[in-house]
């Protein structure tokens, strides 16, 4: 009872406490520095971006005394979605968006599936060297993505890369000549699987990102697995349920609450995975593996079409907003963030 009274007094203290400034003012003073920085360097540029997106802002407008850019209305927005961008060959907004979504979902499905399977294997009672494996499996998380991306890019090299050399060595054991392993992982334009319009570089990126992504899901799944009571399994095995049945009827349903937020987090991260795509495939061949964030970077870094890039950035934000709201709706985790 007493503690209840204290809590009330401390948290719901009326404005104007015993001495000094009122509590709401103190709160604002604590928030002020962060808000000032974000207002200047995050919110203001985003507002400025809206203005820029309606103009033909370009390199010539960058000079200090440069004239204001021309107002072009919705031209940038229309050009982007109607493939009116002639400066970039093979530019297709909808194709890129479709690839970006496919890229995201295909990766996360692999991450979650592999992550759960490996967590279950690691969680087998009586398993030897468990700590040793756990220590190794954490490595893809701790190495910076930038380094991972550049290393895999070199590993996928046609002539000197480790992947082709490793495959050649493996093929040698079965009497296949090394010439068969001149696989052009990044540059080959013909799709490796006839009828499916995915270039080989997609699979190279997929391999890289699977390497990168499953350990996080394993960690999440391991945490959840350890909180599942053993009694469920005992009861199930008494009732004669097989290991497979127990996995699908007990393990998977009880992992769901932990895996869904992790998968949503994975979706957003993979959707924006700039370093990997930019550095491993460079969006190639023929822009087939380009995603939104790499294109946004090219528009600024290579084309220097700042107005167009601003419009593109706004599209990206809207798409991410929709994606985030959808995923949040699924996880219903929004409240806990605020």
């Amino acid at each position: 009872m007493a503690s209840f009274a204290i809590t009330e007094a401390a948290t719901a203290a009326p404005a104007g406490s015993r001495r000094g400034a009122p509590r709401w003012l103190i709160a604002y003073m604590y928030i002020l520095p962060a808000t000032l920085i974000m207002a200047a360097i995050t919110y203001w540029p985003i507002l400025f971006q809206v203005y820029m997106s309606f103009t033909d802002y370009g390199l010539r407008n960058l000079r200090f005394d440069a004239p204001a850019p021309n107002f072009v209305g919705l031209q940038n927005f229309i050009d982007l979605i109607t493939n009116g961008i002639t400066v970039i060959p093979n530019f297709s907004f909808w194709g890129m968006l479709a690839f970006n979504l496919f890229w995201t979902f295909s990766n996360v499905i692999f991450h979650v599936t592999i992550g759960i399977l490996i967590a279950v294997v690691l969680n087998t009672p009586g398993l030897r060297f468990r700590g040793f494996y756990r220590a190794i499996f954490i490595l893809p998380i701790v190495v910076p993505t930038l380094v991972v991306a550049t290393v895999w890019r070199n590993m996928f090299d046609t002539d000197y890369g480790a992947i082709n050399q490793g495959l050649a060595a493996l093929g040698g054991l079965f009497g296949v000549t090394p010439d068969h392993f001149h696989i052009r992982w990044i540059d080959q334009i013909d799709p490796p699987i006839p009828g499916i319009p995915l270039p080989l570089s997609y699979f190279a990126l997929l391999i890289t990102n699977i390497w990168l992504g499953w350990p996080f899901m394993t960690i999440v799944a391991t945490g959840a697995l350890q909180s599942i009571s053993k009694e469920y399994y005992e009861a199930a095995s008494i009732d004669g349920a097989s290991g497979v049945q127990q996995f699908f009827r007990i393990t998977l349903p009880l992992l769901r609450p932990a895996m869904i937020p992790a998968a949503m987090y994975g979706l957003i991260v993979t959707f924006n995975l700039f370093n990997l795509i930019y550095m491993v495939s460079g969006g190639g061949p023929l822009r087939q593996t380009e995603i939104l964030v790499t294109t946004a970077f090219r528009l600024v870094n290579e084309q220097r079409l700042y107005g167009l890039a601003a419009a593109f950035g706004i599209y990206t934000m809207i798409i991410l907003l929709v994606l985030t709201l959808l995923t949040n709706r699924i996880t219903k985790a929004t409240e806990s963030y605020v």
Partner: protein, 309 residues
């Protein structure tokens, strides 16, 4: 009678089910060894390449320890990492400065805001928190154009001295700090929310001001979250590529991450593979070791935050 039989039966069944037999143990070990191999392969490869003294432009064999292994590639990278006139020391100094700036900036500003969001009630609290968290989902690349134009406008030039905020580590650092703040605030607020209020209330009853309570009680209690937030901020600055690549044009401002991409080479035929590998290790090793030692807190904190709802 039947319930007694059950309690007797359970332990035996449990043993039969939960103890992996020899065959199963061997099979699982084989699977795990294979997975370990796939995880370690790229890492072993890059270490092996970095030890190769030949700095070959055309590696044609896979060896664990190359013939005549030496640290020559590291020496070359330290002397002249890229074709730009900048030393490795300068690159590392820039990266470290940038990373420390982002780390301390986002931590200092973030913990103040997080404390207020967690412990005070004030008008527009919820709206402000949503506005801050909303930025979490905006990738920095999507706002690159306006940021470039905006920072580029802040120039000072008098005589020989000219300064352009866009073309400086300070500008990149400010942009990164602002970008790291939403995560810092969200992460720290989540942790502070879990700290019981009783201690602060006791301090408050003893006459401590909010500032004293914050400095003497809150900060020491939040140390684990502060360490993780500081490290993740450091990592952001250390591995940042997009903005520094776009904004910085003077080689004396370049960072390790930029040099690593530079050395990767446009075409594999002229990639100095050993130097690239040595560089990759120099960039990755310091942060990886720290990450490894903190990973329990980092991954644990992130998953707790995610599962909470």
């Amino acid at each position: 009678m039947s319930s007694q039989a059950m309690t007797l039966a359970v332990p035996r069944r449990r043993r039969a089910f939960f103890r992996a037999g020899w065959g199963k143990q061997l099979m699982l070990q084989a699977v795990l060894v294979f997975i370990s191999f796939t995880v370690l392969f790229p890492l072993v490869w890059v270490v092996s390449m970095s030890l190769d003294p030949r700095n070959i432009s055309r590696p044609t064999e896979l060896t664990l320890i190359p013939p005549g292994a030496s640290l020559q590639a590291y020496q070359e990278v330290i002397e002249r990492p890229t074709s730009n006139p900048v030393t490795l020391f300068q690159l590392a100094f820039n990266s470290f400065g940038l990373a420390m700036g982002v780390s301390l900036g986002s931590l200092g500003l973030g913990v103040l805001a997080a404390y207020a969001f967690s412990r005070f009630h004030f008008p527009a609290r919820r709206a402000l928190m949503i506005a801050i968290v909303a930025v979490l989902m905006v990738p920095s690349v999507a706002a690159l154009a306006p940021l470039f134009v905006f920072l580029n406008k802040i120039q000072i030039s008098s005589g020989d001295f000219s300064f352009n905020l866009r073309n400086s580590l300070l500008g990149v650092g400010l942009a990164l700090t602002s970008g790291a703040l939403p995560f810092a605030i969200w992460n720290l607020k989540g942790y502070i929310d879990t700290i019981p209020k009783e201690l602060e209330e006791a301090a408050s009853l003893d006459g401590a001001s909010p500032t004293q309570t914050f400095l003497r009680i809150m900060l020491p209690l939040a140390t684990p979250a502060l360490a993780v937030t500081a490290f993740l901020g450091f990592l952001t600055g250390w591995t940042e590529f997009v903005m520094s690549w776009q904004f910085l044009t003077n080689p004396e401002n370049f960072t390790l991450a930029m040099a690593l991409w530079n050395i990767t080479g446009q075409y594999a035929g002229n990639t100095p593979w050993s130097k690239f590998s040595a560089m990759a290790i120099i960039v990755a090793l310091p942060v990886s070791v720290v990450y490894l030692s903190l990973q329990k807190y980092i991954v644990g904190g992130l998953t707790v935050g995610g599962v909470k709802g």
